[in-house]
Structures are given as C-alpha cells and as structure tokens.
C-alpha cells in the first residue's frame, strides 16, 4: 500500500511538474533573449485555457481546431504586449522592464476578468476521462497528453535553437547582445520572436492543463510563480535543466503534501526557490559560467 501511495504521489507530481516546466521554459526564453523576467508569463497560461473555452463555446469549433486558434490568439496577445509595452520603452533598464511586465500581467488579468467573468470554467478533456491504472496508481488520459506534448515541445525547442538560423541568432543574443547586433543580427526582432515563442508555449501549457485543473481569469498567478521556480531551479536554461527543475518541483510538492502535510505544499516550492537563490543562484545544474540556452 505504501508503495502504491508513493507511486501515485510521484505520478501526480510529474504531471504537474511537466506544466511547471513548460511555463518555466517560457520564462527562460524571454530572459535569455532580453535579460528580463517576464512576470506576465503566467497570464498566457490563463489566456490559452480561456481562449480554448471561447473557441469551443462561442465559435463552436471542434477541439482540434479550437486549440490552434487559442494558441494563435494568445500569441497575438504576446506580440501586442511586446510591441505596445516592451519595445516603445525609452530606457529599457531591467528594473523598468520587470515592472512593466508586472503591470502588463495585472492589465491582462483585469481584461480577462471583464471578458470571461470571474467564474471558473471547465474545458473538456482531449480523450475521455477513464482513469488508467499503472501499478497501484491511476492517471488520466489527459496526463499522458501532458507528458507527450511537453516532450514534443522540448524536442521542437532543441531543433529550433540548434538547427535553425533564427534559433542560433537568438542564442547569440543571449550570449552577447552587443556582439550579436554587430554581426548583423536584428536583436529587437529576436526579442519579438522570444515573446512569440514563450506566449505560444504558455498558451499550450494552459490548454493541456485546463481539462484537469479547470481555468479562470486568475489561474496564471500561482502557475506563473511555480513556473518561475522551475526556471530558477533549472538556472534559467531553456533546455532540459528547466524541465528537470519543473519535475523536481512537482514531485517534491506532491510528496510533501502526501507524506508530511498538505498545508505545506506551496511552502515547499518557495523554500526550494529561496534555497536555490541562496546556495546555487546559477541553478541546480549550472556551472557558474555555463551556456544559457
């Protein structure tokens, strides 16, 4: 019985962890391209879920069509955000940018509240909700979707950053923006790209998690913070270490809730965040001067 329980905690933790990882990667992509922490990242998670809902209920689209529409709509919001709030800034110091992203997140959340109301909404699962037994533990088909989509996104990320010109250019920006600019890379364009990618990714995370956790205008806050923790554990890398960071966070939370006390679940995440920032600010796996893409 004890083993079954541990297995269940681990599986539950891995699935929430995968979501944290996706959100975390969104954080680090923007961080690497622009040097800012985009605290509006969580809002794209919320937008993904809610746009899906609108596509399903008001446009009456089938699920397979609603998802791309929702991703496109959220990405559009990401582009507008970069164009209207980030780019026009006269003095783009990191502190100004961070404050702008916080302001942006409050604005997006407020608008979402007016558009979708304050209620929580449920989104149908992609393929039924008959539980699947693994050993003594059970998961839902939606969990498999989460794992699969996370893997695909990580793979696509890898291909983009290492095997395409614009991906390589974005990496160049993360190493040295000035130098990247000098060799003819349009740095501002890369910043826009980074917002496009990370808002789309946030939206995907929001869409695949919505059938499990439901969605509302304010789900982005907590998920955003947890994603940020994952990114910090992973040392702000947009690759595997943030994924592992997210998974570790998810599993520890779930084990902590199950074995110690459910009251400490969120505390665990933030204690880990503080410990990492104190002891290993370069991330759990980073060397102090490691590459960061």
């Amino acid at each position: 019985m004890q083993f079954d329980q541990i297995l269940q905690y681990t599986l539950s933790g891995l699935s929430t962890g995968a979501i944290y990882a996706l959100i975390g990667i969104g954080f680090s992509i923007i961080y690497n391209a622009t040097g800012i922490i985009n605290f509006a990242q969580g809002e794209f998670v919320m937008l993904g879920g809610l746009f899906t809902l609108s596509c399903l209920e008001f446009l009456k689209l089938p699920l397979w069509a609603a998802i791309p529409c929702a991703i496109a709509a959220s990405t559009l919001v990401g582009i507008l955000f970069e164009r209207l709030a980030i780019r026009p800034l006269k003095q783009p110091t990191p502190i100004n940018l961070v404050i702008i992203t916080i302001g942006g997140s409050i604005l997006i959340r407020g608008i979402a509240m007016l558009v979708w109301g304050k209620d929580t909404h449920s989104v149908p699962p992609f393929s039924g909700d008959t539980p699947i037994a693994i050993g003594g533990a059970t998961i839902l088909p939606q969990h498999l979707w989460i794992f699969a989509i996370t893997l695909i996104i990580i793979f696509l990320n890898k291909v983009y950053f290492y095997h395409t010109i614009s991906g390589k250019a974005m990496r160049a920006c993360s190493y040295n923006r000035r130098a990247a600019g000098l060799v003819g890379i349009d740095v501002r364009r890369m910043v826009l790209f980074s917002f496009i990618i990370s808002s789309a990714m946030g939206a995907v995370a929001g869409i695949i998690i919505a059938p499990l956790t439901m969605t509302a205008y304010d789900v982005g806050v907590m998920l955003g913070l947890k994603g940020f923790c994952a990114a910090i554990i992973g040392g702000m890398s947009s690759g595997l270490s943030t994924v592992i960071g997210g998974l570790i966070l998810g599993v520890l939370e779930s084990l902590g809730a199950g074995l110690i006390s459910s009251g400490y679940k969120d505390a665990i995440a933030f204690i880990i965040l503080l410990l990492i920032l104190f002891i290993r600010p370069q991330g759990l796996f980073g060397k102090s001067n490691s590459e960061r893409v």
Partner: protein, 379 residues
Amino acid sequence: MNIKVMNVVIAAVTLLFSANVFAAAPIKIGALFAVTGPAAFLGEPERKSAEMVVNEINRAGGVKGRKLELVVYDTSGDATKAVQLATKLIKDDRVVAIIGPSTTGETMAVIPVAERGKIPLISCSAGSKITYPVKKWIFKTAQNDALAVGRIYDYLQKTRQTKVSILTVSDGFGASGREQLKSQAAKYGITVVSDDTYGPKDTDMTAQLTRIRGSHSQAIICWGTNPGPALVAKNVRQLGIKTPLFMSHGVSSKKFIELAGDAAEGVKLPSGKVVVADLLPGSDKQKKSLMAFVKDYQKHYNKEGDHFGGHAWDAVMLIRNAVNNGASSAAGIRDQLEKTRGFAGIGGTFNYSTTDHAGLGKDAFVLVEVKNKDWMIVK
C-alpha cells in the same frame, strides 16, 4: 476661490439639501460584498439580489413611505479593505445598517467596527463564530456551518457509518468547517480518521486523496467552495475511490455540477432549500419566498438564483421588516431585528432572540444528491 465658482457651489449645496427636505429622506443601508476577487461567486449574486429586492421594495412605494437606498462597496474579498469600507459606510455615508461582508474572514474583521459604530450588521457569511458568542450588533443570514455538519452526521449516523476522512480548504470557510466536523463527531459516534487540507488555489488534490484512500474511511467529507471541491470530485474519480463523497453547502450551486461534470454524480451535500425549491412539498413554509426569489432572479438576470444571493435577499427583507415595525434609527433596527420571529426567508425560517443571532434551525438544510446533473432530495 473665484466668486462665480463659489456661487455655483452654494447653489448646488442648497439644491441638495432642499431635495432632502421635500421628500422623506431615504433609509440608507450599506452593503459590503466581495464582488470581485476569489469570493466573487458569493459577492456577485449577493449584490445582484440585494439591488433587485431594494428596487422592488422602492417600486412598491418603499417602507412606510420611505425609500430604501443601498450603498454597495466591493471588498474584493480582502479583510483590510472591508474594514476601511465599513468605516466609510458608517462615518461618511451614515448608513443605519450594514449587509455583508460575504466571507467569514472579512466579517470577523469588520465586527469591531460595527460594534464601535453601534450599527447593526447582518453578515452574509456562514462561520459559526460570527454570532457565537452573541454580539449585540451582529446578526447573520447564512446558515451556520454547524447545522450543515449536523445534517451530514445525521445521515451518516442513520446509515451506520462511523469512520470519516475530512479534506478542508485552508481558508476561513474550510477552517470553520474543519473545527465543526471535528468537534461534533463524538456526539454522533463518529471518528475522524484522517484530516487533510488543501490550498484555495491548488490544482491537484490527488496527494491528499491518496492518503485518504489509505485510511479506510467510510465517507469522505470535503469542505470548500468552488472550484476546489470540483477538483476533489474529479480526483476521487480518477483515483477510483469508491468511498461516498460528501461536500459542504459551499458548493450547492449548478456551477459545481457544471465544473465537476460526471464526477459530481452521487455526491451528497447539505444545501439551503433554494436549489430544490420546486421539489419541496407545498406545505413547506419557505416555499413561497423561495419561489418568489427564484422567479424574480430569473426575470432580472436570466440566471438561476442561488442561496448566496438568498443571504442578501434575507438580510434586506429582515431590515425592511424591522423598519416596517417602526424602527428607523440604527438602534431601533437592531432591537426590531432581535424580535424577528418565524420569518420564512430563503436561508430558512428565522427566529432571532437575545441569545441567538443566527436564527436558524437544522431544518434550514436538506441533504441533496447529484443525479443526472441535477439535485435530488435525499430522503
């Protein structure tokens, strides 16, 4: 100041006052509702219901020839804000009574303000500690958690189930429910074999439920407000737990069934009578008020009225009755409120007294079960 401006100001002020002299001044009632924020599901229907019933009373000529005027402020579920706004209602708006706040946490914070200002406050939240011990100026319309817990335990006792697991949300509502669940258990011969909590923003409760599954209880009681309990119901189904699941009256609205979907089937919960108004026998004393409220709400907002709105409806009606009985000052309204007997409202039949400012009995709740996406009364 420019003389012209001064003249305009004087004219405006004179106009304002003269208007007040000609018509009998309206009776000002303050309302604090969590219209936005996490408790918006309470505050929104409360605000709508209160406005609806005040408008209706005014259209019918007011109370004793005086109109009611409702001053509503949004607390966004924040206790600090609630305290500031309560002070504003008393000091600036000079209201004679306050309705709300929506949550137990806010109410507890506002109580000292109302007591100091000597203004009667009719809270719309459920926590037992609001009116126990009795405080001179504080009343409430939402049913005590204790009554809801009693309803569930009654049923468990009847069906001879003695071991329960409880899973409560870590906010004021959950904490109060948890306290009641634990303190009343012994009276019904029930033992609480596992006691877990979850955060109001949590998105996955499988960890807690896995632990509960290991505890071999005969019933799971989850105490929270949407969306948490809907997730719990979904997680219970995911984990294949067959133990009967009970919820609190905090989720007795259609929203819960909508959110939890198939997972809601078979869930039992104590509920105010409003959700099953049409299933009630004609002999039920509350039926008339209930049907009137449900129909009005449907007409005004094109939405089914829930019992959260009902709490505000009751509060306005209680004040109206007090004014009808001759009270007009804050102290008068308070005294009349305390004399309320047999008022069949939405939440139940109210009988306030000097020793009871909650005013409801166990008959305020019926145990309902979700069947085919609708409520059924459990006999």
